[in-house]
């Protein structure tokens, strides 16, 4: 890692020279503050800390950025993602709203149309359905309807998808719904690096961004490099990341399922199946180049998502690969998705309703035409 750091010295020094709106002195001050967010043991932070530090730094750098949502202020955030922000920036910039999703989402859109940069938090994206009219009709479509004269630099963020035991109305994955709308950018971070980089990019972006987090990932720690902790660190929107290189099978996935895919890949490596894991990071714009390049390399595709199968994100990925890389495929494309039912409450049923690592491993073997683990000699 040190060698890599040396190679990137030019990049690092240009990063430290100052980011968007911050001068050297304030960047250093933010740097000192962000060190507080690193956990005691070395360079590793949780996704929650990553998001918190990203929002904190962007609010420091640009006073037009403000946060609004239910419980973001005095309660420190329903999932503690906005912890400490009220104390630091005051109630003018961290707004506790009444329970009025439609109202305050529209308010955020109006504020963005006039020049501020709101970060609207939904306690979960399930609640955003009460505000989906504003997300789509006011935010996403306005730049187009106004002929390019009025843009909406807003970020909608919150947890998406299944948590643990929260049942049907709190567990839906909205990646496919928002991913279909032209005019929205839809981001799905997995680890702390994704969370930091994509959140900063989303806040700086002049278009509406739907930032789908995952509640179960908030507390997970990931190692991060020094570049990630720099206040100027951002990730490009619309580019997927190859988490692990491989040659036999491509698994394309996003959010929590990336972790499952990586664990499955470790298991499969022991059997001699080399898996390439693509972390989408961005549902819209979808990085078709990376997906197709990877499939052309491995000739096999397995898509993985937590949401419902019909008209899901995996459907689009499969269509894209079949359209563009058909002649490179050695096996039919496969999808592993959540069960086509509203999320059940019982713990064992919930386990059955979401993809598990074993499902991924079995599907991988099936695609590689292996009946079972070759190491096991018995039938």
């Amino acid at each position: 890692m040190l060698a890599a750091f040396g190679k990137n010295r030019a990049l690092v020094s240009s990063l430290l020279r100052g980011g968007n709106g911050g001068d050297g002195a304030s960047a250093a001050a933010v740097w000192a503050v962000s060190k507080r967010f690193m956990s005691a043991s070395g360079d590793s932070i949780t996704v929650r800390e990553a998001l918190n530090s990203a929002i904190d730094e962007e609010m420091t750098a640009d006073s037009k950025v403000f946060v609004m949502g239910e419980e973001v202020g005095e309660y420190q955030g329903a999932y503690k993602v906005t912890k400490g922000l009220l104390q630091k920036f005051g109630p003018d910039r961290v707004l506790d709203t009444p329970i009025t999703e439609a109202g305050f989402t529209g308010l955020g859109v109006g504020a963005a149309m006039y020049g501020l940069k709101p970060i609207v938090e939904f306690m979960t994206f399930n609640f955003a359905m009460q505000a989906i009219d504003h997300l789509i009709n006011s935010a996403a479509k306005t730049n187009y309807m106004s002929g390019g004269t009025i843009n909406v630099p807003i970020v909608f963020r919150g947890p998406n998808g299944a948590a643990a035991g929260v049942a049907a109305q709190h567990s839906q994955c909205f990646a496919a719904w928002y991913g279909q709308v032209p005019g929205l950018k839809v981001l799905v971070p997995y680890d702390a690096e994704d969370a930091r980089g994509l959140m900063k990019a989303a806040i700086r972006d002049p278009d509406p961004v739907v930032f789908l987090e995952n509640e179960l990932l908030y507390g997970e720690s990931f190692p991060v490099s020094k570049e990630v902790l720099d206040p100027s660190f951002t990730l490009p929107i619309g580019k997927a990341k190859i988490m692990r290189e491989g040659s036999d099978l491509t698994i394309v996935t996003f959010s929590k399922m990336v972790g499952y895919a990586l664990k499955a890949a470790d298991e499969l490596a022991k059997e001699g199946i080399s898996v390439e894991v693509v972390n989408l990071r961005s549902i819209r714009p979808l990085d078709r180049e990376t997906i197709n390049a990877s499939v052309r390399k491995t000739s096999r595709l397995l898509c993985l998502e937590e949401g419902w199968p019909q008209h899901g994100v995996c459907a689009e990925i499969c269509a894209s690969v079949v359209e563009e890389s058909f002649y490179y495929l050695d096996a039919p494309v496969e999808r592993i998705c959540g069960a086509d039912v509203p999320m059940p409450y019982a713990a064992n049923l919930e386990r059955l309703a979401v993809p598990q690592i074993d499902d991924v491993i079995r599907a991988a073997r099936r695609i590689c035409f292996r009946k079972q683990d070759k190491r096991k000699a018995t039938a």
Binding site: A102, G103, A112, M113, N143, Y144, M145, R204, P206, E227
Partner: protein
């Protein structure tokens, strides 16, 4: 008001000649409300409206040529032909739309008011506090978003004015059939908000009430809810056969035509002569004719315009001060992914 009326009449003509299409909602009869309020605003103030927004756009200062071209779907329209009748936007004139869903414009107006307050208090900008006005109808006053916004606006004392253009009909649904308490202005005090009811067919009365509301907002004393009793002389839209409204009711309000009333007032009080008023009308006719000619002569949007303007910045991170996409700047981070 005369410009609004002539313009809308011309819209009807153009629609029946096939030059305008889709949904067109005309404002005939309600001009006093638009003129009474919007003519008190500055260019830096904001207006949001519904699909019945042509005259709000004209009152706010959007040139008639641009509005007509937008209605014809030409590229010289105020939204380059991409918005249409129901989606008039103008960043220059502070017109934040033009929304097809009723109630959608109310939170947006409240958001603009929030920004006004934020800019004053947090960003410490100088100058008059820009005010925003949300226009909507009686049907909207039953919608959840309306109440949510009344609450938030009064809670945070935002410089916004809620103007209900109560024309008694939501397409074919009578206000009295759909509302438990038909007096909409009474809903303000439930939230602690100042409210008023005004005769929306009389532009001078509207202006008086509006003046007070605008001043209250600019001072920072918070929002006002104003119910204007008004009437639309035509149907809900040009596709509406308008069979449910009683002819007696229509006649009653036709007799209270705001333009005729103002004319009578001007002549009776000798503020203007017949000749002067006639010359104003003639000038307006010329403006509207010119707008039609301009729109007719304008080109349709080019094919490439279909995919434009979906995003302000399709590549993310915005445009840098040198005018190029930031992500193309080699000094800007490209992330740590080796793809």
């Amino acid at each position: 008001m005369v410009l609004g009326r002539s313009f809308e009449d011309m819209c009807a003509q153009m629609y029946y000649r096939g030059k305008m299409f889709g949904f067109v909602h005309l404002y005939n009869g309600q001009e006093a409300v638009s003129t009474g309020f919007i003519k008190l605003l500055k260019q830096t103030d904001f207006v949001t409206s519904t699909y019945r927004d042509h005259v709000h756009a004209l009152s706010k200062g959007v040139p008639a040529r641009q509005v007509m071209a937008e209605l014809f779907g030409k590229s010289t329209g105020c939204c380059r032909g991409q918005g249409g009748s129901m989606h008039m936007f103008s960043a220059e004139h502070g017109l934040l739309g033009g929304f097809a869903f009723i109630g959608e414009g109310i939170p947006v107006a409240v958001g603009a008011a929030f920004t006004s307050k934020y800019k004053r208090e947090v960003l410490k900008e100088e100058g008059d506090m820009p005010v925003s006005i949300a226009f909507f109808g009686d049907g909207t006053a039953n919608n959840g978003q309306f109440f949510e916004c009344l609450n938030m606006a009064q809670l945070w004392k935002l410089p916004v004015i809620f103007v209900v253009e109560n024309n008694l009909w939501a397409i074919g649904m009578s206000h009295y059939r759909s509302t438990s308490d038909p007096e909409i202005w009474k809903k303000g005090p439930a939230f602690g908000m100042a409210s008023a009811h005004v005769d929306g067919m009389d532009v001078l009365k509207v202006r008086e009430v509006a003046k007070e509301a605008v001043e209250r907002a600019r001072r920072g004393d918070g929002p006002t809810l104003i119910e204007c009793e008004t009437y639309r002389f035509r149907g809900h839209s040009l596709a509406d056969p308008d069979e449910l409204r009683a002819p007696a009711e229509k006649a009653h309000y036709a007799a209270r035509d705001p333009i005729v009333a103002l004319k009578k007032y001007l002549l009776d009080n000798e503020i203007a002569t017949e000749a002067e008023l006639k010359s104003i009308e003639k000038k307006i006719d010329e403006v509207v004719e010119d707008a039609v000619e301009f729109a007719d002569a304008s080109p349709l949007p080019g094919r490439s315009q279909l995919l434009e303007n979906v995003f302000a910045d399709p590549k993310g991170f915005g445009i840098g001060p040198d005018g190029r996409y930031r992500c193309e700047d080699p000094g800007f981070t490209a992330g740590t992914a080796q793809v």
